[in-house]
């Protein structure tokens, strides 16, 4: 008995280490939502009024004008408005034209689309495994960072000049995790990578210029970096909302100075605001029987977690159900990426409902929201499968 058991134990030792909790919860939540109304094709529009220089980060032409993506040219690419993942087998609806399964497609401000073929494709969890390959766009839209399939580590690419910088250290594909995040500093010098599940391998802050790497705590989403790369702001939204600031990051062997604050409520965080010390937050009020509910918008001090006066959001479509806070347009306005989906209470989801392996693409509407007044104005619409699979310029929000 012992011999066979030992062989089987040896065999079981090869089983993958996983953390399926977040993915299960996300998949379950997605199943509870069914699309309320798919906007008609070609409805990807930009409201052109009141454009500031920063708003030019967003597309000024329908995303559909991008049509099928060509391979990203070696140089001479204009600044980007966004990027999204192209999965080819959605359970419902159409896949993007010319899709590469799990590949990243970048879209310029004028609507030209290019596939980033150098970037390692992500895998679909129901077909072939779990691997999230992240991509980031610098705040000015002129640089991207991604995991290079060929180099086995992260690369930064200047889109106009075509100059590519490769991180000094390799990062095994197996460390990319099931949900990963990438942040690219404004000048393209620093790349921050983090992922879940948070096994022993750390998150990384990579100095592409000086070719050194600083370890960071995993699981935390990098949402801001100071100009000199010495202070990083991190957010965690699950299982508890927390903010963390680590300063004195260099040299990489230094302990750094870390300040964490655990928040009493569940928040969605924007990237770090231009002032470098606050974030915009929206309280997540969703519960099992009352899903897809959100609270008011507020600014929060990243070091103390102190929330300033909350402001009710106005001007959003009445059927908006979920919000992800993204790019700061200027000191007053932050981008709110929204989806309008119908959410089902947990009790209305049949136990035997089959899981959706490849969810359909759906419309997302971006609003510029004034953080003082809460007033929102529509600025663009996009199509992607979910918030994890669309990237706007600048650091990511959480979630």
């Amino acid at each position: 008995m012992t011999w066979l058991r030992n062989v089987l134990v040896d065999l079981a030792d090869d089983s993958p280490q996983v953390d399926l909790a977040e993915r299960t919860i996300a998949t379950h939540d997605r199943r509870r939502r069914t699309t309320l109304s798919l906007l008609a094709a070609g409805m990807v529009v930009v409201i052109a009024s009141g454009l500031t220089a920063a708003v030019r980060l967003l597309p000024d032409r329908p995303q559909e004008a991008a049509a099928q993506g060509d391979d990203l040219p070696a140089r001479g690419v204009e600044p980007l408005s966004h990027a999204y993942k192209t999965f080819c087998k959605p359970d419902k609806g159409k896949a993007p034209k010319g899709c590469r399964d799990g590949g990243w497609r970048v879209v310029t401000r004028s609507g030209k689309a290019y596939d980033v073929t150098e970037a390692l494709p992500s895998l679909s969890s129901g077909r072939g495994g779990v691997r999230d390959s992240p991509l980031a766009i610098s705040r000015d839209g002129r640089k991207i960072a991604y995991y290079s399939a060929k180099e086995g580590t992260f690369q930064v690419r200047d889109l106009a000049s075509g100059q590519t910088t490769t991180a000094a250290d390799k990062v095994p594909e197996g460390r990319l995790g099931s949900i990963s995040r990438l942040m690219l500093s404004d000048d393209g010098r620093f790349v921050a990578f983090s992922k879940v599940p948070d096994f022993k391998d750390p998150a990384l802050l990579i100095d592409m210029r000086d070719r050194v790497v600083r370890r960071l705590p995993n699981r935390w989403v990098p949402i801001g970096l100071s100009q000199d790369g010495a202070t990083i702001t991190l957010a965690e939204y699950s299982p508890h909302s927390q903010l963390r600031t680590i300063s004195n990051l260099w040299p990489p062997s230094s302990a750094g100075k870390s300040t964490s604050v655990i928040l009493p409520k569940d928040y969605r965080f924007s990237p770090l605001a231009p002032d470098g010390k606050t974030v915009a937050v929206i309280e997540n009020l969703s519960a099992a029987e009352k899903p897809c509910r959100h609270g008011d918008l507020a600014l929060m001090d990243t070091l103390t977690g102190k929330r300033r006066k909350a402001t009710a959001l106005s001007g959003l479509a009445p059927d908006v159900s979920t919000i992800s806070l993204r790019t700061w347009i200027d000191a007053e306005e932050v981008t709110a990426l929204t989806m309008s989906v119908r959410c089902r209470p947990a009790s209305q989801v049949p136990d035997d409902e089959p899981p959706v392996i490849d969810p359909p693409y759906q419309s997302m509407t971006a609003y510029a929201v004034n953080v003082r007044t809460g007033r929102a104005r529509k600025i663009a619409t996009y199509r992607a499968r979910n918030f994890f699979e669309i990237v706007l310029p600048g650091p990511p929000g959480a979630p």
Partner: protein, 173 residues
Amino acid sequence: MDRNDSFREFVAGHQQTLMRTAYLLTGDAHQAEDLLQSVLLKVLGRWSRLSRVERPEAYARKALLNQYISWRGRRVRSELPTAEPPDRPYSSEDSTIVRLVMRRALMRLPPRQRAVIVLRYYEDRTERETAELLSCSIGTVKSQAHYALARLRELAPELAPKLADMEIEEAYR
């Protein structure tokens, strides 16, 4: 603590144990993840009830086995070993090769026989527990274990003496 937090705690406490069983059943890391993911989705769907029972992991384990057996028929063709055992005689003391050979042989067993082997010899379940988990009789467990060991001896002749010993021990369990 909200519903999701208690579910996270449950997953953190049991997912690796369940994953090991899933991996032995499927023989493939990706399929094992898919299998466990689908089971956890079922668990989460019923979490409001399961979180109140004493051992929700028992439900998860049974769901894992049921799901595996119902999947196996549909997915059998996609099962491919990632490493081949050597095409030459080998020692039953070489653990790496034995692991490869056993993995390959297990993957060729019918699903119920593989489940019996995993439950009886890896999880060390009694015949009664195995029968309950597989929703079958104790007699079926006995016969499936016998056929499974015999088939393993055919599939891995170098391991046959060890496996024959297993069956003798089994007779005295």
